[in-house]
Symmetry: C2
Amino acid sequence: MKIALAQLNFHIGNFAENTNKIIDYIHQGILEKADLVVFPELAVCGYPPRDFLEFDDFISRCDEALQEIASHCQGIAAIVGSPSFNPDLKGKDLFNSAVFMTDGKIQSLRHKTLLPNYDIFDEYRYFEPNKEFNIIEYKGQRIALTICEDLWDIQDDPMYTINPMDELMSFNPDLMINIAASPFHRHQARIRQQIMLDNVTRYNLPLFYVNHVGAQTELIFDGGSMVLSPDGFIAGQLSFFKEDFQIFELENVINCKESLSVQLRNPDEAVYEALVSGIRNYFEKLGFGKAILGLSGGIDSAIVMVLAAEAIGPENVLGVLMPSQFSSDHSVNDALKLAEIIGCPAKVIPIEEAYHSFDSLLKPHFENLPFSIAEENIQARIRAVILMGLSNKFGHILLNTSNKSEAAVGYGTLYGDMCGGLSVIGDLYKVEVYELARFINRNMEIIPDNIITKPPSAELRPDQKDSDSLPDYEILDKVLFQYIENRKGPRELAEMGFEKTMVDRILKLVNTSEYKRYQTPPILRVSSKAFGMGRRMPIVAKYLS
Amino acid sequence: MKIALAQLNFHIGNFAENTNKIIDYIHQGILEKADLVVFPELAVCGYPPRDFLEFDDFISRCDEALQEIASHCQGIAAIVGSPSFNPDLKGKDLFNSAVFMTDGKIQSLRHKTLLPNYDIFDEYRYFEPNKEFNIIEYKGQRIALTICEDLWDIQDDPMYTINPMDELMSFNPDLMINIAASPFHRHQARIRQQIMLDNVTRYNLPLFYVNHVGAQTELIFDGGSMVLSPDGFIAGQLSFFKEDFQIFELENVINCKESLSVQLRNPDEAVYEALVSGIRNYFEKLGFGKAILGLSGGIDSAIVMVLAAEAIGPENVLGVLMPSQFSSDHSVNDALKLAEIIGCPAKVIPIEEAYHSFDSLLKPHFENLPFSIAEENIQARIRAVILMGLSNKFGHILLNTSNKSEAAVGYGTLYGDMCGGLSVIGDLYKVEVYELARFINRNMEIIPDNIITKPPSAELRPDQKDSDSLPDYEILDKVLFQYIENRKGPRELAEMGFEKTMVDRILKLVNTSEYKRYQTPPILRVSSKAFGMGRRMPIVAKYLS
């Protein structure tokens, strides 16, 4: 039997486009004499559809799409992910289903058993978990068909009380097929490969695994679909970060005795490609072509400009330099040099005059109080007014340039430098920003060295340095990582040797900045715990704060 | 047996304060000879703790608090809501528990079976559902102890496949106790009372029901705890919108043959009290005392000023008028009159000069394009810079004044009038804003009539009216309600008789404004479907858009 994996980039709710794409690849399968084409989880509507799933109209459109797709399955079968109505009165109204179709119509459905409901996942919000197990028989093969998370709970400390593959083994399957929506993070490709290898060796069955590719707002899908032999060899590997369609002969997979050489990207390279994909898909799927960003001469905006230029073309990325009386000469020069190297247009719009205008407007109301954070923020907010003015006038999307360390401790101005339609590096700690800069410069100086080597500064008051207000990033980022990614509390951090006063101060900054992060743009997710949908914190609270 | 209900206002993560409050009421119970004091769901840590639950440190502090509380249960028992560790390796790490304590120590735990995971609820994110049932025996009484949602699934189309009270009935209980965290919306008090009445009549048992009171960021808890007889009479009713502690003799409850006269507030009155409570708790729990808001002379900012003045005192609410060249004289006069009536301080800071400063700064870059949304937004953003400048200088919290109709269709300026720490009326459609204004003015003219009667306008270009860009609010709000609250799609709306072109345009506006709402402040929730945590939509999508 010849099985094709169709690793595609879907557009949430764009039924016409998604349906046509699926049908095109079914025809491709027919052309290449495949017996079965497998598409990813919720392929029909795109993943994650979120609360669109609560609209009957949305589910009906999925049904209509499935009917149309099924009518094209002549002489071939397809497995397509889709939500489906739960016919039982009891339980939630929907299943997350894999729809098996052939001979021009839908033959049967299998439903997802394990519904991830942690981090960025909300599946139990919508779906009833499957409780009935059965295989699919097709062309003499017995297929154990599961959906994403169904294969992920095989560690010693299971999150669920049932294991769907254990259940399916009683039906003596010949192969496993898993349709997935497994989003990227820095280490996910390696983890995913290991989990899938653990499955084939545990069940001694071949596995056909197909994932999404492309980004959906903050979530980036890296593809990396794979075919594994029962003995744990990699018999097939689809591309990372692009659409792919490959056909495999089941017999060859079963007998495969040597792994393909699969070179997983190093984390910096993977993050670079992920962020580029995240930007590109955000623009393409929203129908925008041009980006704007504030260029400070610092490393954060430099990196964002490089990534945006790669994603949508340097000619479409406008850098705006907005020096104030506190900006150093090198800031302007470094930023202009960067734009020139990359080939992006740049504008210089000094903000001193606008600042003085606000200064004289507010002076009578500021009661002779000394220069403070208020005046610092006014500068950042003037810049936002300028950037958004240009964005509104010409239809650019403003790219946000905050990093994760700043976002964590609230070192940024709400409605100022925290503005933007998309946060590009908001999931990179400052030390990771530097790592990425070195990766970008690995062959030639794209980001001017001076931008990488000078001490970071917000330049909102004379001779300001980040290190005036914050611990060194080397230490800060370690504490933040333990608190945010690993959820270590103050007592555990003390045991790890971090200094208590510093830890208490950092955790307090993180928790009292929740109100700021609540209003930030969506952040491209490249870690296992990004700010945004995957980290839900109370604003009004008093814990470690 | 004498049972006390302690309907209290907890502060999330503030273990010292919550623990002391619980212990104080246990002592109050001892003083008043109660046998048992019942506290709400997750009382120890406050509700909803959200992802703090993923920190072992947070759960350990809950444990420590429970130990301390238990040590005070001498000659009395208490039931206290708390998260607890799941000892089983399989399944999620936590339960949502009701902890029964007496004789100075924890005696046993009961866990929540039905974990709400819709709208603003995320409980399956954290908790393993209970699967073992048993009653609690205390002083000869057999108590069926459940937690909130456990009693809510009694309709004909159940959301869950198990019903915990049905299970508990096999143990022959004498009474039901339910500890809850049931947030307010416009009709919730009536619905809640009906659900609880349905339970007592179905099981023929008395019910002691205790809820939270007070607000937690966007969620407002209205209290309204109650005691019901097996025959469906209201034997006890605790206050709405304030802390309350009442003791009931079980025998009297069982024999109660006449309901207390419980006058539920009409929806406008309830919404008024809810919003006041929401503002007050936001300020108190964050430790802030002063609010600032932009006063446009329109009805939205007028209502917000009235509510804020009621919540934190008129002397603590600063209204700032920021007229531009497009502002009408009546706007300034109406706004000043309002501030004077309420007793709030007000400032007038004209923005024409600042606008001209940006105009001349950006003119060379705007390439002689005509006046557009860009210039309109610049005015709104200048106002935000002024308001945030004052807020930063003096430590005010900026109150947002957007309404739900505007938020729905994106009729507002991001980083302009969409700014603020808290959105006060972002869950009120424009027609509901008018209703609330009439409620406020029911006895005297607090909001000047002219503010209520003039046509709504953003005043960002000459002679602008909302009705230039939007359908009349009477119709717009009906369509929005059907789409947002009732999740009706375009085909259903057409069947209801709404005009197709208009519906398509409105739904498209709603869906393409998702990126704006992503960055708005938390919105006090007073409907069954508010923007924010309870409505999760993709930004990048193409459904009805």
